[in-house]
Symmetry: C2
DNA sequence: TGTACATCAGTGAACGCGCGTTCACTGATGTAC
DNA sequence: TGTACATCAGTGAACGCGCGTTCACTGATGTAC
C-alpha cells in the first residue's frame, strides 16, 4: 500500500488486485469495472489512465495469470528431479494448486471468454505456459516403451484436460457432480491410473 | 411452426429454442431475454407468461439438457452390450457428441453458473444423468482385478473430468491450447490409456 | 533554496445504452346456454 | 348454430438500474532556471 493521496502510487496493480478479488468471488462475468475502481478507492474514470477498457484489464490479468502459472509449473517440475515421473506428478499437482490459490487468475484465463489474440503479450504468455507443461510431458515420454508412445503434445493435452475438468467440475459448487472425493485425490488417482496405462507406473504400485 | 397469429401456439418451447440458438452462438452470458423473445417473434414481456424470469428459462434449458444427455448416454451404453468395455467407450464418445450437437444445452448446464438447486426438477435431472454415467462405470468396474479396483464413482468422475476438460479446452476457440488433435481422437486415446491403466484393456492392444 | 510551469493522475458529472421486469391493456380462443 | 362472456396469451410503453465510457476539469508532482 503506497500513501493514499490524490495520486495513488501504483493504481495499475491496485486495480488488477481489486479485479482479481472480485473475479475470484463472483466469477469473470459478475465483475464490473466500477466495482473494481471502487474497491481500489478510485473513480471509475481513473481506470482509463491505465487500461484501454474492461477487456484490456481482463487480458492483463489473464496474462499475469499465465506467467504465474508457467512459473509455478516450472518450479514444480524442477528440471525433472528427482525423477521424470515424480517431477511430472508434481507438475500436475501444481495445476490444481494454482487453480485453488489464484482463482481470479484462473477464471480470467479460462472462463472469461477472452481471446488469446487480445494482445501479443497474452498469446506469448499462454504459449509459454503450454510449453512448460509439454516439456515435462516430453521428458517423461522418454521413459515410455517406444512401441506405443503417444506424441508428447497429446500426452500433455490429456493431462491438461483431466486437470481442467477436475477444477471445473469438482472444485466449485458446479453442476456435474457434488464432489464425491476431494479434488486433489481425484486428480492424483486419475493421473496415476493414466500413467500406469502408459507403462510408466508398475501395475501394482 | 404453428400458425403465427396473435397467439403463438407453443411459445414456451419456441422461446427455449430461440434461447438455445443464442446461447449456442454467444455463450450463456451473451444471451438476453429480449433477443430470445425477438427471435421467437414476440415481445419481451410475453416471456413472463411462461417463465418466472431469465434464470427460470436458463434452468429449464439446463433441465431439458440433462434429460437429453441422460437419454443419449443411456442409449449409447445400451445395457452393456456387446461388452461392458465397448459400451463404456460408446458412452464416453456420446459425451463429446452431446456437447457438439447440443452446444446451447451444454453451456446452460455447465457454463451458465446456474445452481442445480434452482428447481427440484433440475436437481433430479442432473442426478439422473450422473447415475446413468456411474452405472456404466459400475458395470465395467466388475471386470477390474478386484485387488486394485477404485470406487466406481471415482472411476466415472475421472472420465467425466477428462471429457469435460476436452470439451472446454479443445472444442472451442478456448485458451489452454489451440487443439493439437481432433477432440474426438484426443478423448478416445485418453480414455483408452486410462482404461489400460485399470487393467481393462490388454497392454498391447 | 525558491519560484514558474509543464506534465499527468485523478475527479465528478454526465452520456447513451440495453438489460430485466412491470403494468394496464387488448385481441383471440373456447365454453355455457 | 348463434350469442355472451370468461379466460388468458400477447402487446406496447415505460420503469429503474447499472454498466462502460467520455469529457472538461483540477490537484499534485517534478523539473528548469
Amino acid at each position: 500500500m503506497a500513501k493514499r493521496g490524490y495520486h495513488h502510487g501504483n493504481l495499475r496493480q491496485a486495480l488488477i488486485d481489486a479485479a482479481l478479488t472480485l473475479i475470484g468471488e463472483q466469477g469473470p462475468q459478475g465483475f464490473t469495472l466500477s466495482d473494481a475502481a471502487k474497491l481500489a478507492g478510485v473513480t471509475p474514470a481513473a481506470v482509463y489512465r491505465h487500461f484501454a477498457g474492461r477487456d484490456d484489464l481482463v487480458a492483463e490479468i489473464a496474462r499475469q495469470g499465465f506467467e504465474i502459472f508457467a512459473d509455478l509449473m516450472d518450479r514444480a517440475y524442477n528440471g525433472g528431479k528427482p525423477s521424470a515421473l515424480s517431477a511430472f506428478e508434481a507438475t500436475a499437482r501444481a495445476y490444481l494448486a494454482f487453480a485453488r490459490k489464484f482463482p481470479g487468475h484462473y477464471m480470467a484465463m479460462f472462463e472469461s471468454g477472452i481471446s488469446l489474440n487480445t494482445s501479443p503479450d497474452l498469446a506469448r504468455a499462454s504459449d509459454r505456459a503450454r510449453q512448460v507443461f509439454t516439456r515435462a510431458a516430453e521428458a517423461l515420454s522418454q521413459h515410455i516403451p517406444a512401441t506405443k508412445r503417444p506424441p508428447a503434445s497429446m500426452f500433455s493435452a490429456h493431462i491438461w484436460a483431466m486437470s481442467h475438468g477436475v477444477v471445473e467440475l469438482y472444485t466449485r459448487g458446479a453442476p456435474g457432480a457434488r464432489a464425491p472425493f476431494p479434488p486433489e485425490e481425484l486428480l492424483e488417482t486419475g493421473i496415476g491410473i493414466y500413467l500406469r496405462g502408459l507403462g510408466l507406473v508398475p501395475p501394482d504400485s
